[in-house]
């Protein structure tokens, strides 16, 4: 297996852009990534494009060729990936495997989503299609309600951490204030979170990630050829893991551990040859506040049942021992579904290059990204290291 590095990155601002189409978002982010890599477009041999639900929200499928046409990549092979909220990382891993296996030297990986042009009910329905249509949605469950049940079970098993859990949202908003690409630039408090508009008990609107438009692209290259054109610091993909679990929440063995996170993390740590303690910062999937708590435990950063206390103590803040979501996370940077996984990877690369400006993590040499799909049925973990 060949070593693979991220040699170029580009993203749009995350947000609500009524006048911008899927094409516009792809064009901006893709062009930036290719420019950042400093390569001729002709060197790109394949495109992997993550898009969760353009088929429904924009009645646009076959996103691969659409992307290559918009970016003028010619007749290269393309592949669209879909794995609910893990869609973007799924595209990344396909590109990574193709280069590592020697099929290609340089590939472009992207993720795009356009959500805000639809009414709330249509957005909700599209999101809920990542759950089991027959056994969950048709019985009246929503996506937030599934994670709300996870939260209430967590409270039952480990104690009611409602206020500590709210600190995840507060910290993510604090970090997003320093990120020009973030959708939310608004300071919030624990009281705002706890007293916000109710969504599904115990969640208020502040426990939930955002509905966003956005795109993010990265250029991947075999490390041994990257030196020919890459002028920036090379960021090597040191580890990659991908694991699954049952699609229905009712079939999960435990509600308070994501089995897929455990599996993907184990693979990624093993491939990178590191332990959780060696990670300098992480972008961790926070579709809901409880998700971030459970994941930082399952990733091995904190013992089971102690994640919320660690967050509340400031240990995961930007100046803490292990900064989590310096970008602002799904909660405050934004969550354009298919783009999210790549947007996390974008942050990892920016941090390791030392280009994060006001939100720069000190000594950011090893970064981890964690992207979860559905109620934990798909998980990808990647580890990045500066060279």
């Amino acid at each position: 297996m060949r070593s693979v590095s991220v040699v170029g990155i580009g993203e749009t601002k995350m947000g609500k852009f009524p006048e911008r189409s899927l094409r516009d978002l792809i064009l901006e982010a893709g062009t930036k990534a290719i420019g950042d890599a400093g390569i001729e477009k002709e060197r790109i041999e394949a495109l992997y494009l993550g898009n969760y639900n353009g088929s429904y929200w924009s009645l646009q499928s076959h996103m691969g060729p659409l992307g290559s046409e918009v970016l003028g990549l010619g007749d290269i092979p393309t592949l669209r990936t879909e794995g609910a909220c893990a869609t973007g990382s799924l595209a990344f891993r396909q590109g990574l495997m193709a280069v590592a296996a020697g099929f290609y030297d340089v590939v472009l990986v992207g993720g795009v989503e356009k959500m805000t042009h639809r009414q709330t009910e249509t957005v909700t329905t599209g999101l809920a299609s990542a759950a089991d249509a027959d056994l969950e949605v048709s019985l009246g469950a929503t996506f937030p309600s599934l994670f709300a049940m996870i939260a209430n079970r967590y409270f039952f098993e480990y104690g009611n951490v409602r206020e500590q859990m709210a600190v995840c949202a507060v910290q993510n908003h604090d970090n997003a204030l320093l990120n020009p690409d973030a959708q939310m630039h608004k300071k919030i408090t624990v009281q705002d979170v706890c007293n916000g508009f109710p969504v599904a008990y115990p969640f208020t609107v502040y426990d939930c990630s955002l509905v966003s438009d956005g795109a993010c692209f990265v250029v991947l290259a075999a490390t041994d050829v990257a030196g020919e054109f890459c002028k920036k610091r090379l960021v090597e993909v040191a580890g990659s893991g991908h694991a699954g679990d049952a699609i229905t929440m009712a079939a999960k063995k435990s509600l308070t551990t994501f089995t897929a996170t455990l599996g993907a993390a184990r693979q990624a740590y093993e491939m990178a040859g590191i332990r959780p303690a060696d990670v300098d910062f992480a972008e961790v999937h926070d579709c809901f506040t409880i998700t971030q708590i459970i994941n930082i435990e399952d990733l091995g950063f904190f013992p089971k049942g102690r994640g919320a206390a660690a967050v509340a103590a400031g240990r995961t803040a930007l100046d803490g021992e292990l900064p989590i979501n310096p970008s602002g996370g799904l909660k405050a940077k934004g969550h354009p579904i298919g783009c999210t996984g790549l947007s996390q990877i974008y942050e990892a690369v920016v941090q390791i290059r030392g280009e994060a400006g006001a939100r720069q993590v000190k000594n950011a040499e090893t970064g981890l990204t964690h992207n979860l799909g559905g109620s934990g049925a798909t998980c990808l973990v990647h580890i990045f290291r500066g060279r």
């Binding site: 329905t125 249509a133 019985l139 009246g140 929503t142 109710p198």
Partner: protein, 138 residues
């Protein structure tokens, strides 16, 4: 439109939706619900005896979906009631299922609370009322 389940597809699953028809794996003895082609537990068993579940169980977890946050089929219900509770129930026979809770206790829903299945109207699609089970406190 939310989860679209056509009338013929719905009809085919009436035994599980109306009568909680499950299946006991002849290889490992565990009860699958809803019915599966391959046993969810041993992942090898394909022979099953039919069993009718008791409908009794305990609340494994729960939430209350606020008005405005409901899927389209349920938005009218959420608007009428303001909100509605959804529970994950662990049935006596082992399987866990998601359903709505009716007549929630005034003092609030708790994990471990005993519940039983009741036959109720779930929603309407294509002009046909879809019936199924909800749970109520025992």
């Amino acid at each position: 439109m939310g989860a679209h389940i056509s009338i013929p597809m719905y009809r085919r699953t009436v035994p599980q939706r109306y009568r909680l028809a499950g299946q006991r794996c002849t290889a490992c003895g565990r009860v699958n619900f809803p019915p599966k082609a391959v046993c969810r537990y041993c992942r090898t068993g394909t022979g099953f005896d039919s069993v009718r579940l008791s409908g009794r169980g305990t609340v494994y977890s729960y939430t209350v979906i606020a008005g405005g946050g409901a899927p389209p089929e349920f938005s009218e219900e959420a608007r009428c009631k303001g909100s509605y509770p959804v529970v994950l129930v662990e049935l006596e026979e082992g399987p866990r299922i998601i359903a709505q809770l009716v007549d929630p206790p005034e003092e609030g829903i708790t994990v471990g609370m005993k519940v039983e299945a009741v036959f109720r109207r779930i929603y309407e699609e294509e002009g046909v009322i879809r019936y199924g089970f909800k749970f109520r406190p025992v």
